[in-house]
């Protein structure tokens, strides 16, 4: 007998370098100069345009927001999820501004990641950024890339469990995930995955033909 698959909306996203730049600016105390709540500048970057495109496409789907549960990479299960989203939205991230907008439309947000795994990623980055000499750095970069990929798989497995264990009957999941994640492949066993915008599977030739 065929398994009855639930629908899941998957939004592959490119994390905004500009956003992170704004975040770095907050950490360095330039917040007052740079940030007014919401968007910082009018000039749309490629990433801003991408988010406008995603927002328009999601709007067209006419989703039942009060029955929709959002999952987003980078946000841990901690009970403080809304504060994190608000803080990142305040930094000007179009990603988190959009999530905040959906929450205001009554969508539910679910803490998605394991904080210990995010701390492990943070530690890997710390190690990478501490190396100063070119030779050391070259070796550390290669090691970082391999370890961060392995960590990404562990993170994806956690997120998969999180989605299947928190999703309530009758709810529609919408998942915002960086393009480097391979979570979508894991989700295909339990869900009928619908993609918003173009799916850019960096590693799977087969997938583009089935898009």
């Amino acid at each position: 007998m065929m398994k009855d698959l639930r629908r899941l909306i998957y939004v592959p996203i490119l994390h905004a370098r500009e956003d992170s730049g704004r975040i770095a600016s907050i950490l360095h105390g330039n917040e007052k100069n740079d940030i007014k709540r919401g968007r910082i500048d009018k000039e749309l970057s490629a990433v801003d345009e991408m988010w406008e495109g995603i927002a328009a496409k999601i709007e067209e789907l006419n989703l039942p927001w009060n029955q929709t549960r959002i999952y987003q990479d980078g946000v841990p299960v901690c009970g403080n999820e809304l504060e994190i989203i608000t803080r990142l939205a305040e930094s000007g991230s179009p990603n988190f501004l959009f999530i905040l907008d959906l929450i205001q439309k009554k969508a539910k947000f679910e803490g998605t990641e394991n904080i210990d795994l995010l701390i492990r990623e943070y530690d890997l980055l710390n190690k990478l950024l501490m190396k100063n000499s070119d030779k050391d750095r070259k070796e550390t970069i290669a090691e970082y890339q391999v370890k961060s990929r392995e960590l990404l798989t562990v993170r994806d497995k956690f997120i998969l469990k999180r989605i299947t264990s928190t999703l309530q009957k009758g709810e529609l999941p919408i998942v915002f995930m960086g393009v480097m994640h391979l979570l979508d492949k894991m989700l295909e066993t339990d869900f009928l995955v619908s993609y918003v915008i173009y799916r850019l599977p960096f590693r799977s030739i087969g997938a583009i033909y089935n898009a």
Binding site: L14, H15, R17, S20, G21, I23, A24, I26, L27, A46, V47, E49, M50, G53, G74, V75, P76, C78, G79, N80, E83, I84, R87, L88, S91, I115, L118, I119, E121, Y122, L125, N126, L128, L129, R137, K138, E139, I141, A142, E143, Y144, Q145, V146, V179, I197, Y198, L200, P201, F202, R203, S204, I205, G206, I208, Y209
Partner: protein, 253 residues
């Protein structure tokens, strides 16, 4: 004869260059090939590259059942031996894709015995394969979009009153009577270049948006693909800053 571009510049003792004739790769044929390979050779194709990568990456784990004495014996006996694997795809006699791999088993075993996986080389190989796949994706996306645009041109050409812009493109030899784009014409010229205004007036908003989105996405993806060490460090700093906020906010709970 054009020189084969080397996509893999890894140590030639262990891996020899991978060659892809991108101009000759037809995505329809790859699709057919992919499906046939999946049906008849589920373990072949992409599995081949994966096996080789795994051999390097997990050499130690794979040879764990082999005792140290046996390993040393094998290394001694296999000194000077090499194994060549040729994997080639041809279309009417012309090579489309060629993967020539030379493995020196004694070296692989030696490294597994020492427990030293060459992370840099592995990473490089893996990154080069990613770039190759990004190239194929870009080619496929461009092809799909171009086909959509050509469908619109065809519809216009079937109308009794052909819009003047289309006539202009015909006169310039940019498209033919079937609406196909001819050599020298480019989608970029239409989307953002010299014919942008006319194209925008004539084409549906949805198609224009799709085109722009594809263009920007490709641009962003290539920017990611071409990262060098410096930009990786810059990205790492930014990701570090983002995680700092997340961890700080989490601890407030």
């Amino acid at each position: 004869m054009p020189q084969k571009p080397s996509l893999l510049r890894a140590n030639p003792i262990l891996f020899s260059p991978l060659y892809l004739n991108a101009e000759k790769v037809s995505t329809e044929k790859l699709l057919a090939l992919y499906r046939v390979a999946n049906l008849f050779f589920p373990q072949a194709g992409s599995g081949l590259v994966k096996t080789i990568l795994d051999m390097e990456k997990h050499g130690e784990r794979l040879s764990v059942d082999c005792s140290p004495e046996e390993r040393r014996k094998l290394i001694r006996e296999m000194k000077g031996m090499s194994m060549d694997i040729q994997y080639a795809l041809s279309d009417e006699g012309q090579k489309m894709m060629e993967i020539s791999i030379r493995i020196v088993p004694s070296e692989v075993l030696e490294r597994a015995q020492q427990g030293t996986t060459d992370l840099i080389q592995y990473q490089k190989l893996s990154d080069d394969l990613d770039k190759l796949i990004v190239k194929l994706i870009v080619k496929e996306i461009r092809r799909r979009f171009t086909r959509k645009v050509m469908d619109y041109f065809q519809t216009f050409l079937k109308n009794k009153q052909v819009p003047s812009f289309i006539t202009q493109l015909l006169d310039m030899g940019w498209i033919n009577r079937k609406g196909q784009l001819l050599k020298g014409s480019s989608i970029d010229d239409l989307l953002t270049g010299k014919y942008h205004e006319q194209f925008e007036r004539l084409m549906p908003e949805e198609l224009l948006q799709e085109g722009m989105q594809i263009r920007e996405t490709i641009k962003t993806c290539f920017a990611i693909g071409q990262d060098n060490a410096d930009s990786l460090i810059q990205d790492a700093k930014k990701r570090h800053a983002l995680l700092e906020i997340v961890i700080r906010e989490t601890k407030k709970q």
